[in-house]
Symmetry: D2
Subunit: 277 residues, 4 copies
């Protein structure tokens, strides 16, 4: 029974584990799981600790803060159901996988709504009892469309926005609005085949593996911190369309694996990289 997950990000120095576990021990908290990492590039220390027991969060936050050097960040997270809004376009495989997991409560999370720039997926989503909003882009400026989408998202106050094959390019303003809270699935093993038509690019290059990458979205398309990647073998007999079909299963599995890590608070960011505990 995990009561808290504690995420520490601070300058590295001797004795950090001792000082942190000292606070926890004094509060009679039991450590269930613990992982640390020092980023050699930035000399910062990262720690994720699952504890069980009873403690006042504010006091714990204060005591841990006092035990750590300046420029430290401490997050104390209590287990609660997280809220997701999913954006999709026409393709159903990633969305379908998320919807099934949602329906059967596989994760401690709730898909509050699905928003799409098409109405194709509405029937499926509403059949499973999840609100669906089509925000068609026709006749709208990019900014107006995005604004309408953001208004809808904000109405649900989600923890994370999941791009389940959402085929619209996002503006920096949108990305900033949900900073480090947007998870995207890109249909290539990044950094190979950035941008549009990665399977066509893969076919043209004659690669023997194709893949998918789940990542946080930042301002530069397909360049945010990578969470998960996986690949499958392909061969000469598969054209771009065959690869796209075969790739769907990798895409959906990589996205759901990434989302699981996000929802379990296992990811910390160090610059443009993820630390996954």
């Amino acid at each position: 029974m995990v009561s808290f997950t504690i995420l520490v990000d601070c300058p590295d120095e001797k004795g950090l584990i001792y000082r942190i576990t000292n606070v926890l021990y004094n509060r009679q908290l039991n450590i269930v799981k613990n992982r640390e990492f020092v980023d050699g590039d930035t000399n910062r220390f990262f720690m994720r600790t699952e504890v069980e027991g009873t403690a006042d969060e504010n006091i714990l936050q204060e005591e841990l803060g006092a035990a750590l050097p300046p420029q430290s960040s401490v997050k104390i997270i209590t287990a609660r159901q997280k809220k997701l809004v999913v954006l999709a376009t026409l393709e159903s495989h990633c969305l379908g996988d998320l919807m099934v997991r949602n329906h059967f409560r596989e994760w401690n999370a709730d898909i509050c709504a699905v928003i799409s720039n098409h109405s194709m997926l509405e029937n499926f989503v509403t059949r499973l009892g999840v609100p669906f909003h089509a925000v068609l882009s026709e006749g709208m400026s990019r900014d107006d469309h995005e604004h309408a989408v953001a208004e809808l998202i904000d109405g649900y106050d989600p923890d994370y926005v999941v791009l389940a094959k959402y085929m619209r390019i996002l503006t920096p303003a949108f990305v900033e609005r949900y900073r480090n809270r947007i998870i995207n699935i890109h249909h290539s093993f990044l950094p190979a085949f950035v941008g549009a038509h990665p399977y066509r690019q893969a076919y043209d290059r004659g690669v023997k593996i194709i893949g998918a990458t789940a990542h946080f979205v930042n301002n530069n398309l397909d360049e945010g911190p990578i969470i998960c990647q996986n690949v499958i073998p392909v061969d000469h007999s598969q054209n771009a369309s065959d690869m796209a079909k075969a790739g769907k299963d990798v895409e959906k599995m990589v996205l759901s694996r990434a989302l699981k890590l996000v929802l379990e608070d296992r990811i910390m960011l160090s610059g443009n990289k993820t630390i996954i505990f």
Copy 2:
């Protein structure tokens, strides 16, 4: 620069990480890497810590022992080149891989000698400057043969004995003599296809994957604690002999991966299972 690796195996209770890191902090040792695990079946706590700094090992051992509950084990390991004796028979792929890594000092270890029940591999081994001993079994009882092999092994006082496709069954006495120090590679994804001719068994069953398993050897054949496993896909076009050929690459990679973990003191034993940090 890691100075010590500390392995702790003790009954689980609250405050263990705090108490251990307290000792290290007081001795001004810096924790470079740290991993813990509680075995829910036995309620024992396992921890592996890499530290840098200067300390008297005996004092450290004593202080850590004093900080831990009864029934605890503390091992303090200083980095040093480990000694290996390799046993082989006729097949060259695992031995060849180990010999190349040894020649180019890929690991902090030295193959002191290769012992075989055949003389086939002698030319290769001696070309690379490693002593080779053929102990032919013809006309010898199993016990006498094994005794001769053990005498040779003991002359090198190795840390570990590696069975690189050594096709002789070992007696309990031999296994006991090198308790938890014999690493074997079995050519199947155990527990499938225990015993002889696993590729023939795999072919007959029509499996779509074949694999290899590296494990410590205990008294029951192929039943010791598993260190590493891996598989590769096969299809109907491969007969037992094709599978055996294809499997060689998996076998050698699994054995060398396991050996690397052993040599880096990353493995702790909990009953018949390995904990790998």
Copy 3:
């Protein structure tokens, strides 16, 4: 545009490909894809050919039969939507994956109905517009229960019966009724961990990989011809329940991969083995 898929299974002898392609050429059929295999154990020749063009199936069947030695089998399959009945119990992951693929017509197949010995999955299945039948086993003999299930199945006249984690043991009579038409997913890399509780068995043995196996069902439990297998790595930190959760994704992907091969008529049987073209 594939018009026919031709499956040939006959005694091996010289000139078979020539004779078969001669027939096709004379009928002005174009070969799109072609695969052959000779089973060295039985000395039988297997061939799968996709052709495009127009031909009278009966004449083609007759001409191919005449071109081949005695004891030959020729199947000419025209592309059509296949019918499936899915059996499930409580677990949703395999069924969910199949239902999503079905909803979006990913395959040229239709799930006519889902039958379960529980009513747990009814809400999900009916929401997606597929008939659901709960045949509760309470108070029924095994034979009566199975008979009721078979009656329901037969009402849909399916091409294949898919066991998507159906946790009932089938009688030889049931298996015989749908000979080579039942596909099961077993939650281990067979032949390891036959029978019940494979994840518990895997945990107890301390394996470093877990997996799943899709196979045709014959009279001996978990011993039918294997279609697909895959594995994922596990480590000491995962208990039997963690493994079961992690294994779900492998199970569902292996089952759907197997089913795709079945639906595309890519599988031929040679004794207890599958030949997959």
Copy 4:
């Protein structure tokens, strides 16, 4: 017992398999294995056939040529030991793997010599009885150095030149001299991380997989037809140097897998892509 391997590359049209197998049947040759592929982009037909039996190669060549449309290529290859020259620099893992396979005659091929721009690997190579030539580049122009290397290569008249981590950029003239006969291993999953320091690039990008690519060399660095690729997972705890170490095993396995395909005449080229039968 395969007597010939026949490689056909011709414009696609109806009846090709029939016409080719007709020739073989008339010559009383038995087809052991057969694979075909039509490249949809170029509308060319590729076929690889292994046959057993006795036939005059010239007559067979003539008859197959007569059976095929204009612009066709037919290669009849009799099994014989192929000759390799390996180029290396400082790293030993790929070379070591090839040398062991060579020593134990795993392939029907012979490493005639190893040529390096350093003398580091000489001791290892000569111990195993293979001629080693150090062509140090100091004080030599690129052209002169390459000329000296090419002279040495030509003295052995090899079928293929293998770049086993040869860290020199080749001139177009050199590449042209051994057109489609140079196999290189690049330490990334191309097209990601072209050029120097791919592991550093991979680390900086924060990828979760690293890989290796074996390819034929053409004029543009790292852009030749890809033969094999594979990847392994990495995580945040591995820096660029750790990735480089972990990548070595993938590199050597990918190179040797590619070389096996090359030596078994399983590769045909279609533009900048490989067809692998």
